[in-house]
Symmetry: C2
Amino acid sequence: MKQYVIIGCGRFGRSVAENLYKLGNDVLAIDENEETVQSISDKVTHAVEADATDENALRSLGIRNFDVAVITIGSDIQSSIMATLIVKDLGVKYVVAKAQSEIHAKVLYKIGADRVVFPERDMGMRVAHNLISTNILDYIELAPEYSIMEITALEEWHEKTLLDLNIRSKYGINIMAIKHGNHINVSPTAYDNIHKGDVLVVIGHNNDLKRLQK
Amino acid sequence: MKQYVIIGCGRFGRSVAENLYKLGNDVLAIDENEETVQSISDKVTHAVEADATDENALRSLGIRNFDVAVITIGSDIQSSIMATLIVKDLGVKYVVAKAQSEIHAKVLYKIGADRVVFPERDMGMRVAHNLISTNILDYIELAPEYSIMEITALEEWHEKTLLDLNIRSKYGINIMAIKHGNHINVSPTAYDNIHKGDVLVVIGHNNDLKRLQK
Ligand SMILES: Nc1ncnc2c1ncn2[C@@H]1O[C@H](COP(=O)(O)OP(=O)(O)OP(=O)(O)O)[C@@H](O)[C@H]1O
Ligand SMILES: Nc1ncnc2c1ncn2[C@@H]1O[C@H](COP(=O)(O)OP(=O)(O)OP(=O)(O)O)[C@@H](O)[C@H]1O
Ligand SMILES: [Ca+2]
Ligand SMILES: [Ca+2]
Ligand SMILES: [Ca+2]
Ligand SMILES: [Ca+2]
């Protein structure tokens, strides 16, 4: 089990902190805002009010003993950079930082961040892809040209087997799972039937996937 | 091709707007902040400065003719609720709204939002899952107990075939794709070899997936 410190508890930082704690980890949450600290205190191991740009404050919290630090200070770019520099200097091995823009990310990498994340940009891309077609429910980009998508079964597929539909050779995509209500079949065979309302999890080249979108 | 209006162009809204435009759609971006509008104007079809809580302003922009509205006003919950109510009243068929909290989401659904999204909360969950194990690169939750994960091939798998490893019956999971550098194999067969640095895209029950995490 690892020890995580989350610096900044906005919506993103709070979610990272709460989920790491739920997954059984030791989590210290730090924020300069008193109410924010209070509201997260029973969802993590410890929650402390401190200014993350104050090196002495972080040192006295024993930050150097943590395995991973996640800096999620958002709008205040200067504080995000200073906090990243300080935790790296104090000796935290793995530092993740949230960035606002490409240039912000570049600075964070230069000063030693091991990973930079863009939560709003990435979710914006996912939601845009979900919206363009009404049958796409979720989407992940695997490689520049390949994706995994969750799609609602087209009407012409209802009550047919995968063999009947021959989706693999007709569309060049693979069906990885079929969701039917609360049940999920993660090893679909050629003889599995597709029913109305089923959700298919498919993998393939973006050009082939496009042809499934209605 | 559909017509989208994005109301609020923070980091999330901007990403939704830019990606919808890149995907070939008609996109109107609205924000009350002048600089924000200027900075997005060449990345969407039209960008307009307006207060989204002003019904007359939205009406005169012809909002009712849009197929989809995405309300991404963030911190100001009252404005987010008012803007959602107005676009729904003006007759937009499909309205997506960003929420800060469960209670905010409930209000948005009550006043007619068709879909509510939590970008920071969802990305926080993804990042937390990615962090707990060093070989998990990406993660989507398919159903409460089932996920798709991208994992780095464990050392003991190098230079073995899927048949040798017998991962399906040993771990109860399915391998959906193998990424090798820039190449991606989306129909892996039993005779495909796994090499050092390969990334496997796997699907399965969370309990089974846990056993692959190192
Ligand atoms: N110097 C600092 N020390 C500690 N906490 C800080 C500091 N600066 C900002 N924070 C905290 O970081 C959190 C996130 O900051 P902010 O709300 O500006 O970012 P955001 O990107 O809009 O957040 P989100 O989108 O995750 O809600 C806030 O709770 C804020 O109090
Ligand atoms: N009444 C309004 N009319 C138009 N635009 C608005 C209104 N209120 C807020 N906005 C705009 O909405 C955008 C998002 O708001 P804000 O920055 O508070 O949210 P946020 O959740 O922190 O954003 P993000 O995390 O996506 O960066 C801002 O660009 C802001 O100018
Ligand atoms: Ca205080
Ligand atoms: Ca904000
Ligand atoms: Ca103005
Ligand atoms: Ca945000």
